[in-house]
Subunit: 294 residues, 4 copies
């Protein structure tokens, strides 16, 4: 039986207890692998959901999810945390079993301190204010990390910052305001993107640069001026503090910083001139030849 | 100072502590009135939010909200509960301080058992699965009640069931499945609508009828057949159980029931033939005349 | 070169004239096949679009599209029409070259009377009023046909009528009001769905039944009462005419009709008892066995 | 009768011919005023729509709209054009009679060359690509103008560029690419905003500055490099051309330009130090006193 067939009606939320058992065993194996490889987190996203009203019982599925999570959580060794990701829709088109941050948080609260919410920036309904969710989770000490990407419509998985750089800046502004960009904050920053029309490595480099630029701009925010304008209820002035930081061109600053670190000022040029792409292509061609020929 | 001016930047979340104090005092007065009038609940919706990034600190506002709620909650006499309503946007166009069920739930959990979430069916982002939220809150014992209405776009406040009768049915299906339609369930069912182009009393009657029809259909759902099809993973059959109930015409049944209760079979005809509208109009014309003439 | 690679940046809108040429040749071949097979329409949907701002010139792509369409249109033999489908997003996540009915219509108007708009019910932005588009295209004589399906979020491709049966009824109501359900109206009614969790043939049967029920309800609308209430500006009464038709249970009527036509009253039972599924499975198993064994 | 009562069911689309007549007469009067005052355009937005399915006939309303527009168009003197604005929803919550650019365009095409589409940046469904519409209308020679503002959710009417400055840049990029920012292009650039929490005059100044910055960035786009990268299908490079222009800080440039024109480098400081706000307040206080006392 192919995995997609077995999990057609869900994994840990499947109505069939045998399928749920196999899915949970698989998760427990992941915990073992995390322990063996020294990974600090087990990050969970479930493709579980339903397509049609009545297809399954919403509440029963929540209960099954809670049971599986509880078993996996209990198996976490010292020093390994759990991240629970939410997603509005897809592959489930009627319900997803963890569709929003509220559902993820409810499960994390039931599990304990080591379970936290993972925010994928492409997994929200239109109009959702993501930085509000980030700020709320930070306030509760429950922001586990990010899957960064950007979107114009749904879970488009474009380069982070490509669709709405101001939104990325506002997210990083909440992160910086809370000190969550500092080492030891416990927030995991990850990319989760899909490169259909662009070269993969340059796309990843550009993504990292976009997050760097947004972070640099967030660090430029004059927090004292911001607090003061907010306290006085001066809307235009308070907004201007953020906008001024965002309107700044931080690229020369970042280039300088890279050079101070002994790196090329522009990662994309450095990559292009490194010859890595050509080397990798050559090696893979050879490797593939051997592989298939063997 | 007009209220709208004073509360321009928020009520209990306002950056100005004096405004917050006045807003909290007002809420405490509401609790007193509820006690004096025997109202079982104090239902809170806050028009608090911001229009521009940076206008105010998201986290500080959550803190202020938590403090005000805590003070009001502490003042609740025995037997009076608190409902906390959420709304995605409007009047705040950048943030609302309670934009979603997650935020409302977080505050209710911090307050205690007497604070529960109020679901206004028009206060969600496009694509939000409302019955999922209803089922989740029922599972957690935290569904406080409803503001019923319907919408095609935003908070349109049309007659409940007018935009998507199947959605209303699915909501009532979760309610009925959990027994929350029964007296003593503690869930408050309220209408919150706006009648711009239609007559108000008939519109309210029709709204009640729409909820009655959706409830009747939910009661027709063959729960044993549903559970059995769900357990077998028979998607088409499980969905068909719901659809069959929804496709049934429950109007004759409800007409019969009304007649058994000594009422007219059709509330709208009964209202029209009662002469109430004409009497009310005549009385008000007189009353208004006296009022303005006095 | 695989097709997906070649068409990575578009087919007839591709910046590369050679790729465009191949795509257009492919379309011309389709016209020939249509002529050879007696198909009355060539139905076009383009996966063309872009993922990133600046990736390509929006206007230049429209021009390329217009040129290809014009060449294909010119090749249409007597009696064969062209349908141009639109889709908001996917696979293009920044632009689609035909994202909405307006764009499709603009191209059809430029081409001539034989080019008409195809409406896929899952290809709109949230909140789009599809029956308004249907009514507008009917008024202009430019509705070419439908790809029926239903959706809660995006292009979910669920069974038509499964997500919002009232919407399907409202669409069919515009069709019936304009007489476009009658033979010779020139409107093509097609299903375009994806069955991930349900059995395919029963799903297709159910879809046809859903369209039949919506059409039957639309035929029940008391058009004289509707017109009269609309003319008097009686909002509640006019709406009630539609709602009454929708609330009616047309299943017995349709069952009767099927029996009069010598068919089983319930297509799903008839299918189940026909043994077709088992026969097909057996035949395919044999065929596949031979195929793989050969 | 109050206007809102009379126009409750629409103005030129009202089912009552007498109301339609009055609405059309009012429009004809507007044309006369435009002629008398030397206004180059009559800009039309209709609050017409319906709230409930069946409330009125969608097609009949289009016909009534076409008739009224045709009469007004015929009355336009030499040199006066007509703009037709569209809006997705509100005040109509089921249909708006001109909900999208397609509908507006259809009417403009039927009227003639002097009727063009007006784009209000807040009047679209979530996910709509506004610059695509702008580019499409420019290609057809049918872009009449803009109502600029910004939004996170619906028709929020916030300061233009406040919600998504990158979107404003992309819109201005299409304008600049087509030369439509140049005098004589015939495109009218207007602000249509609502200042609920911020001071009005600074808000308008800031809005103009935001459009200036977006335009300056659009002028910085290296069009030759863009075309070349697009032609080569180099997605990352083509996107980078746009992003580089957007990431530039154009504020020093604009400050310099203002000084060359003999203006203060920062309009907001210039306004604050001008004493205008205080003078206007003082005059209004006196003027109001006199006015009401007279």
């Amino acid at each position: 039986v192919f995995q997609e067939d077995e999990y057609r009606l869900g994994s840990v939320c499947n109505p069939d207890p045998q399928v749920r058992r196999r899915a949970t065993e698989h998760l427990l194996e992941c915990v073992e692998i995390a322990a063996a490889t020294g990974s600090p987190t087990v990050s969970l996203w479930f493709a579980d959901g339903t397509n049609y009203p009545g297809q399954d019982d919403i509440t029963a599925r929540q209960q099954r999810l809670a049971e599986a999570l509880s078993e996996v959580y209990a198996a976490l060794p010292e020093g390994i945390g759990m991240l629970l990701e939410y997603k509005l829709f897809e592959p489930g088109f009627y319900t997803m079993d963890v569709p929003d941050w509220g559902t993820s948080l409810v499960h994390c609260l039931a599990l304990g301190d080591k379970a936290n919410v993972l925010v994928d920036t492409g997994h929200h309904a239109p109009g959702t204010n993501i930085e509000f969710i980030v700020a709320s989770l930070l306030r509760l000490g429950r922001l586990g990390g990010f899957h960064f990407n950007s979107r114009f419509y749904a879970d488009d998985d474009l380069l982070v910052g490509a669709a709405d750089p101001y939104q990325l800046f506002r997210i990083m502004n909440e992160i910086v305001a809370a000190g969550a960009h500092l080492p030891g904050s416990g927030v995991a920053f990850m990319l989760d993107q899909c490169h259909n029309v662009e070269e993969k490595v340059p796309a990843e480099l550009r993504s990292v640069m976009n997050v760097q630029e947004a972070t640099a701009k967030a660090l430029l925010v004059d927090r004292e001026a911001l607090r003061s304008a907010q306290a006085e209820g001066d809307v235009m002035a308070a907004n201007a503090v953020l906008v001024d930081a965002f309107s700044s061109d931080v690229r020369p600053l970042l280039a300088e910083l890279r050079q101070e670190m002994g790196l090329g000022p522009d990662p994309l040029s450095a990559y292009a001139s490194s010859g890595y792409a050509e080397r990798a292509r050559a090696e893979r061609a050879g490797g593939a030849g051997q592989g298939w020929g063997g």
